[in-house]
Structure formats: structure tokens, C-alpha cells
Symmetry: C2
């Protein structure tokens, strides 16, 4: 049995499945959890791959550590989306963090991951963590200059995640961030989402001074070439504390100081997509 | 209609196909050329993806420019395999090159690519290029300290390419290289070929002083995370001429000086696989 994710009807990615653990329609989306032959458990939302136990460390380390290490003192961190808990797990590796807030619209995603993927979701019960099951827009709107870092760990720009790729959302983030804060959003792949990448970057550049795209190898996302985009008025991913980075890397499987710097190098064809940076 | 490449029965990659241009059994392998909906023409050998017109620039720029820019004067360059001609096209971008030799075991691959993919194979008729349709082992054995750079642009370590991943092959390369020469081999993905990567590196370290693994995003290879391994007694990919690199990048779609340096950064889990470097 195979789970197959079809990309615009031109490309597909298949993962061989042992069995289906859960398949349910929540208020927001179809949630499916599989046992796979190679990748451990696999979570899909509306039949799109979110993560597998085997490869999730790449995405979660990279969405989290690049901005947190580039912020001088990341105490209050918000993760929008990220119901699987992997981003929160990585956030908590930073000793500076006093408050790790999750805002996930779909409580069922969190509960399923807590029950079936403790290696990913286990840290959601840490006393520093606050769980909120709300729409990211509404939640953000109640904060003014509160967070040091905001990570948008969203699904693709279709379905419940659609609005998280638009200018109004980045304005809300700016308001909820302290003036020296930094945000990161996952920003899809340059092979199939050129327009999303270009429009996200353009929108962020209207609102923040420094907008920086970086990359990671994610084997179960289409093309394997994934990007994240950071934005800040004061921080830059290029300026980071080597000592903190090195110490953090001891607990990482992907991230290290060389990777931190390397992830910021963009191939020429990607530079063109985000050339207003 | 889909072309589907199945990886160890645990992972698969599908590309939607308009039609099949050629399907033939050569003396060595099954050669198929498709028209795809998104990736231009697609070449497969024994039903494994070799390249598409849309993404081939990544592989060919990265196998070629990293070693050539790191060699002070790459005049004589040998490509073993690489019958599609893409590596030779990139080799010829270097003004230092006086002789670009291709040794491809299967003449039919070359002839089909020349006829149907001129954007890839067109430079094979350049006067600096010498074509040889021979076994790489036999061909290399006739050279002593002749080449500045040897690129092994092989298929996977199954079928006709199998011997190109073994110690005896690297010994032959060493003999055919000038003492200050450098070699590069494509070295598969850390997600599915951990043992190949480890054993290749181990073998090369017995024969060369500097062994360096580097990475590139190749969307149509399994996982998208591809590696190459370079070996030399005198050159190092870390020491390269920024000016030459910058000038070369003007004619590239992937490679540039930042990418050159970034490609050498390895995630922690990959460092472990090649830890005898």
C-alpha cells in the first residue's frame, strides 16, 4: 500500500505504508496517521505530507534554531500551527526560553500527535508551554510587542493555512513582536511554488527591514528543496553567536554553525525569485 | 501516464509523462526518453531517472564547477560516464580547459541525447571534446599522470556503474591524475545510500589526502538531497579563487561563490556517515 502525494499533477511522491492508524475528519481537515515501512509514523493533513518520525528533525531544527540563535535573548516564543509539537520541542532546547506558546487551530492534530508520536509531541506538556487552540489571526491580534520570536509552522497555502502567506498576517506578526523580534515562516519550494515565494518575500519586505530566505533538505516534501523566510527590523540570520550555535548543535541531528551559515546561500535561480531582498 | 521510480520499495518518485519518445535496449541497459508535462524531456536508464531538461543544470554545474574552480589550472578534464553531455557542457565554461574527454560505455546514450536533447548534449561536438565509447576502467588504465580533473558522472551503484564506487577504481583514477589533480564522484543520498557513502569515503581516504563531501538539491533524485565526493592530494574545495568563481557564476543557474562554500557544510547526521574525513 502506498500513500501518494500528487503535486499539480506533474510530480508525485510515494511512501510505502504498513497500515493506517487513524483517519478522521476534524472540524478543519482530514487527519491521517500511517505506519510506514521506512519513515516511522507519517502524519498527513488533507492528504499532504506534514511529517514523518524519521525526517521531522530537519524541518523542526531548521525552522526554530536559525531565528532563535540569531536573536540575542529569545525568551517568549510563539509557534503558529505546528500542532505536531516538533517546533516546540526544538524551541525548548534554548535555555533563554521562558514561555513557549503554541497556537494551533486544530486541537485534534495536537491530541493525535501527543498520543501516537511522543518523540515529536512529548514536550507539549512541559511547564513552559502554553497551548491555544485558536485561529492564528485572532490569537495574534490580542498581542502587542509581546513575543521575541514568532514561527509560522504552517501547512501549504491551500486550506486552513492559506491566510498565513499574506501581507495582513505579517502585519499582525509585526504588531505582536517586540521591536527587536524576529519571525520565520516556512516558505515552500522554489521548484513548485515560485509565485508563493516571490509574493511572500515581497509582502514581508514592505513590513520588515531584513528579509532573509534560507534552505533545508526535507526528503518528504516535493523536490526535497525547502525554504524558510525570516523577517526582522533588528536581527539578521547572518549575525549569530557561534558559541551558542555550537553548544546547541550538540543536541541536533541537522543544525550546526556551518549549516546555519550555509543555509543562507541561495542558488542563482532562487535569488531571482526573491530578488527584492 | 506516470513514470515511477521505486526506491527499495519504501519510497517512490513519480513524473507525469506526455509520451515516450524512445525506448530501446542497448548492449548495456534499457534507455528511455520521455516527454514530461513539467520537466521537459526525461532520460531514464534501466528505469532510473538520469536527468530532465528542467533540472539537469543543478547536477551538472555542481559536479563540475566545485572541482574545476578549486584546481589552479584545469586544462585536461576527463568525464567518466556522463553520456548525456551535460557535464562536458559545464567543463567547457572554464577557459583553462584545452581538452575535455568523455568516456561513456554506452554510445547509444550519447547519440540519443545528441539527437533529442541538444541543450544538454550540444557541446559534445566542440573541437576541444574527445568522445570515447569504452569501459571506464580500461580507458583509465591507459593513462599516467595525464588529467588535471576526473569527474565520475555515473549512474547508481547497480548495473554498469557498480564498479565505479569501489577502491580499485579510485586507484586507477589516482594513477591517471597528475599529482596535483582532483577527482569528484557523485555519491548518492544520505537518506537511502548511507553505506555507499560511508564505504566510498573510506576507500577514497586510503588513496587521497583530502576527501571532501558536498551537497546539492536535485529534485528528481530520491529525497532531493544529493552528495558528491571530491578527493585530491593537493587541492581542497575549501580553497578556491573567488574571482574565478564569481565570473563563472554569471553563466550558471545554481552555482555561485556562496553556494560553493555552503555546499561543503554537512548536517550532523551526514557528518557521522563520512566521519573518517
Amino acid at each position: 500500500m502506498w500513500f501518494v502525494e500528487n503535486q499539480n499533477n506533474v510530480f508525485s511522491l510515494g511512501i510505502s505504508i504498513k497500515d493506517t492508524i487513524i483517519e478522521e475528519q476534524s472540524e478543519f481537515q482530514k487527519i491521517t496517521l500511517y505506519n510506514t515501512h521506512y519513515f516511522g509514523k507519517l502524519l498527513t493533513l488533507d492528504d499532504l505530507v506534514m511529517l514523518s518520525e524519521k525526517d521531522e528533525f530537519v524541518y523542526h531544527e531548521m525552522i526554530c534554531h536559525m531565528p532563535l540563535i540569531s536573536h540575542p535573548n529569545p525568551q517568549k516564543v510563539l509557534v503558529v500551527g505546528g500542532g505536531d509539537g516538533g517546533s516546540i520541542r526544538e524551541v525548548l532546547k534554548h535555555p533563554e526560553v521562558t514561555e513557549a506558546v503554541l497556537c494551533e487551530i486544530d486541537e485534534r492534530v495536537v491530541r493525535i500527535c501527543q498520543e501516537y508520536m511522543p518523540s515529536v509531541a512529548g514536550k507539549l506538556s512541559d511547564p513552559k508551554v502554553k497551548l491555544n487552540f485558536e485561529d492564528g489571526f485572532k490569537f495574534l491580534n490580542s498581542f502587542n510587542q509581546y513575543f521575541d520570536v514568532i514561527l509560522t509552522d504552517s501547512s501549504d497555502p491551500i486550506g486552513p493555512g492559506e491566510n498565513l502567506f499574506k501581507e495582513d498576517y505579517y502585519k499582525l506578526i509585526k504588531k505582536a513582536l517586540k521591536p527587536d523580534g524576529i519571525m520565520v515562516s516556512q516558505s515552500e519550494t522554489p521548484w513548485f511554488y515560485q509565485e508563493t515565494m516571490s509574493s511572500m518575500t515581497e509582502s514581508m519586505c514592505k513590513i520588515f527591514k531584513n528579509v532573509e530566505t534560507y534552505t533545508a533538505f526535507i526528503p518528504l516534501y516535493p523536490s526535497g528543496f525547502w525554504t524558510f523566510t525570516a523577517a526582522s527590523d533588528h536581527c539578521s540570520l547572518k549575525k549569530f553567536d557561534q558559541n551558542r550555535s555550537k553548544k546547541l548543535a550538540e543536541s541536533c541531528r541537522y543544525y550546526n554553525p556551518e549549516i546555519h551559515q550555509a543555509a543562507l546561500a541561495l542558488p542563482n535561480f532562487v535569488k531571482k525569485m526573491v530578488n527584492n531582498q
